[in-house]
């Protein structure tokens, strides 16, 4: 439905209608979500307004072709660029409406510097160096990891363990009703429907109760160099998430964030493994948790976060990125999500103290801080939780 006829396959006619369609294609090239029906609306609009008035023309096009605030802010510049034909390239785009995750860091420490520059685009290898933590990586990209170095049977175990551990956090009584046995409110609709069979005497009573369903699960797994020691645990953990249902989104990060949801949910085990190793370039690189979270909040936050989302972060908290950025992004995450569970391989040690600065900064925003260095410890945690929940 998203499609507008393609440039190549279908030559667009001359005249104003043709220009409008070309403009829609131009917007789509610039990343707008342009709907076919929107273009139709615009063409219908044009009969009704005075197209000689530039602002009306702009407003009509905008009403039909824009569908979000970010697009709204970019539209005037692109409109100008297209209809003025001075050049096909748009003028420098105005900043998008401010979102919380975009706010540059006011603190003048090193992390602040990184985060304020993060609001710009980071592209090209030359620019990458300034991002702390990226350069620090003895192994990154030099040797490709052998991801298959774990016991395949562990995946089954991980599936069971994860399901058991995470379900108590996820289960959610919605405000919708479903049929239920002898509890909850009376389901009058059914009662009335049935009672007409018995000459209007409601012999049988039916009930409806609040529906239960799992919350969305977002998993952010750290695969940086410091997590290397737990490699035999991390891979089964990630792959085991395929047992947690269709509402699970999985991301892995080291210096940047990559979604592996598709690989985990749709592909066979071997295909998933090869795909993940191909798509995660900096496996065992340095860690920038703050930047990974920033990326998540910016690109996926609006879609995935909400009161019905449980966020699980698997990381040891060794972070080489900016402290201030991490704090800000954790705060944003904490505000939006239902709860945050942090699984830390180091936390199993009774002498463990969150000393590394990444963990110290993040801890106030974490709802549940749990140890996880192996499937066995995860199983123990699961047992405790289900006992507490029950």
């Amino acid at each position: 439905m998203k499609s507008v006829p393609d440039h190549q396959s279908q030559p667009v006619g001359p005249g104003l209608a043709g220009e409008v369609i070309r403009f829609a294609l131009f917007l789509r090239e610039k990343g707008f979500r342009v709907f076919q029906s929107g273009v139709h609306d615009v063409l219908r609009c044009l009969e009704r307004i005075e197209i000689s008035r530039r602002d009306d023309f702009l407003a009509a096009l905008r009403a039909g072709l824009v569908s979000s605030d970010l697009e709204w802010a970019r539209f005037p510049a692109l409109f100008e660029a297209f209809w003025d034909r001075r050049s096909r390239e748009p003028a420098p785009e105005p900043p998008a409406p401010r979102r919380r995750v975009d706010v540059p860091d006011p603190e003048p420490e090193s992390g602040g510097e990184a985060s304020s520059r993060l609001t710009g685009r980071m592209e090209g290898p030359g620019e990458k160096e300034w991002l702390e933590g990226v350069a620090y990586s003895p192994v990154s990209r030099v040797e490709k990891k052998d991801l298959g170095r774990f016991d395949q049977q562990d995946i089954q175990v991980a599936r069971l363990v994860l399901n058991r551990m995470i379900t108590p956090f996820r289960l959610h009584r919605t405000r919708r009703f479903a049929r239920s046995r002898k509890s909850g409110k009376m389901d009058f609709r059914r009662i009335m429907k049935r009672c007409t069979r018995n000459e209007g005497i409601p012999l049988a009573l039916y009930f409806k109760g609040k529906k239960k369903r799992p919350r969305r699960l977002v998993v952010l797994a750290d695969v940086s160099g410091s997590m290397e020691r737990y490699a035999r645990f991390v891979m089964p953990f990630i792959l085991g998430l395929r047992g947690t249902g269709s509402k699970t989104e999985v991301f892995v990060f080291a210096t940047r964030l990559v979604s592996v949801t598709f690989a985990i949910r749709r592909l066979s085990l071997d295909a998933a493994l090869s795909r993940i190793s191909k798509e995660v370039p900096d496996w065992s690189g340095g860690t920038r948790i703050g930047y990974a979270l920033h990326q998540f909040n910016l690109e996926h936050g609006r879609r995935l976060l909400g009161r019905r989302t449980v966020v699980v972060i698997l990381s040891d908290g060794w972070d080489l990125g900016g402290k201030a950025l991490l704090r800000e992004e954790m705060a944003a995450l904490h505000r939006e999500a239902h709860c945050i569970i942090w699984l830390n391989p180091l936390a199993g040690d009774p002498d463990y103290r969150p000393l590394c600065h990444g963990m110290k900064v993040a801890l106030p925003y974490v709802d549940y801080f749990l140890p996880a260095d192996s499937l066995e410890s995860l199983r123990r945690v699961g047992r405790v939780i289900s006992r507490v929940a029950a």
Binding site: M1, I49, L58, A63, W72, R175, R197, G200
Partner: protein
């Protein structure tokens, strides 16, 4: 009032007559929504007058405003229709004496008399002659199930009730959907609407709104208030104040019989503008304590911008 607009200018003047100051692009969208019979999807920060659009439009058309406030778990029974069960039971008891057959009884208790109309059904059935304005408020608070359900209603303006049949609107009502953008609304819903983003107003526009909405306010005082709010909006708060806060504040100051802004007045009434403890603390510590920023807030409008605002009487 005619249910159709002739031109965009007419929309603007009529909105202004109803004391709603809109910029031309919003007027264009409303004009087109009327022509194309499409819903309007309004997004914007809280308190910029999204809901008010629907209220004013219903006054313009001299028609009923049907409001549906969204919340999580909102379902067909509370948005569309429900059967009146107690009355149905009573009816059955009454008919029992007459000894009517089952089919007849079913026909009776599932007739329109026993139907409780909820907002959406009311908008569909009440559309003969002068269609109402349907306001679907804060769609982002509802859940995905309701959003999907709404698609069907907004697409055809018809509903199917199994016991009765399909009901269809004769004339389509004007639909205004608002969202505070706490979550993304699905593309399928946006695709069926005309989109408009309402931003915080410029100084000029806000001044005109204050003058239009607060009767008896003095021009220079209104300008002062507007300038203060504009300066405040430049700061980074958890919740930046909207126009509704401006109007609340202006009304509060009028009630306090104040006609100038000074430190005491602002400190006493800051609760009208900022609604978070953190924001108020930030205001006290960072803005109010800083003499330069404080002066900037109280200075009043910059020269030149005030000159063009002598439109309202």
């Amino acid at each position: 009032m005619s249910a159709h607009f002739e031109s965009i200018d007419q929309v603007m003047t009529e909105l202004a007559r109803e004391r709603y100051i809109a910029d031309r692009s919003l007027a264009t969208v409303l004009f087109l929504a009327r022509c194309l019979e499409k819903p309007v999807f309004l997004e914007g920060e809280p308190g910029v007058g999204k809901t008010e659009v629907a209220v004013v439009m219903s006054r313009l058309f001299d028609t009923e405003l049907i409001r549906l406030q969204c919340y999580e778990g909102l379902d067909a029974a509370s948005a569309l229709y429900e059967w009146d069960y107690p009355r149905q039971l009573l009816q059955i008891r009454m008919q029992e004496q007459d000894g009517l057959d089952r089919e007849r009884m079913e026909r009776t208790i599932y007739s329109r008399r026993f139907l409780i109309k909820r907002p959406l059904l009311e908008a569909i059935l009440g559309s003969d002659g002068n269609p109402p304005v349907l306001l679907i408020d804060e769609i982002d608070r509802s859940d995905e199930e309701f959003e999907a359900f709404l698609l069907e209603v907004l697409a055809d303006f018809q509903v199917t009730i199994p016991e009765i049949g399909t009901l269809k609107a004769a004339d389509r009502p004007l639909v205004v959907v608002t969202s505070n953008r706490t979550r993304d609304v699905h593309d399928a819903l946006k695709r069926r609407c005309l989109y408009h983003w309402i931003d915080y107003p410029s100084f000029d526009k806000e001044y005109r709104i204050v003058m239009a909405r607060i009767p008896g306010i003095e021009k220079t005082f209104a300008r002062r208030i507007t300038a203060f709010m504009q300066a405040l909006r430049g700061e980074d708060f958890l919740k930046r104040p909207g126009i509704s806060e401006t109007l609340d504040w202006a009304r509060a100051l009028m009630a306090m019989h104040v006609d100038h802004l000074d430190a005491d007045v602002v400190a006493a009434s800051i609760g009208c503008i900022l609604k978070y403890r953190e924001d108020i603390r930030k205001f006290r510590e960072e803005i109010w304590a800083d003499p330069e920023k404080r002066a900037a807030c109280l200075r009043g409008p910059a020269e030149g911008s005030g000159g063009r605002t002598s439109i309202q009487s």
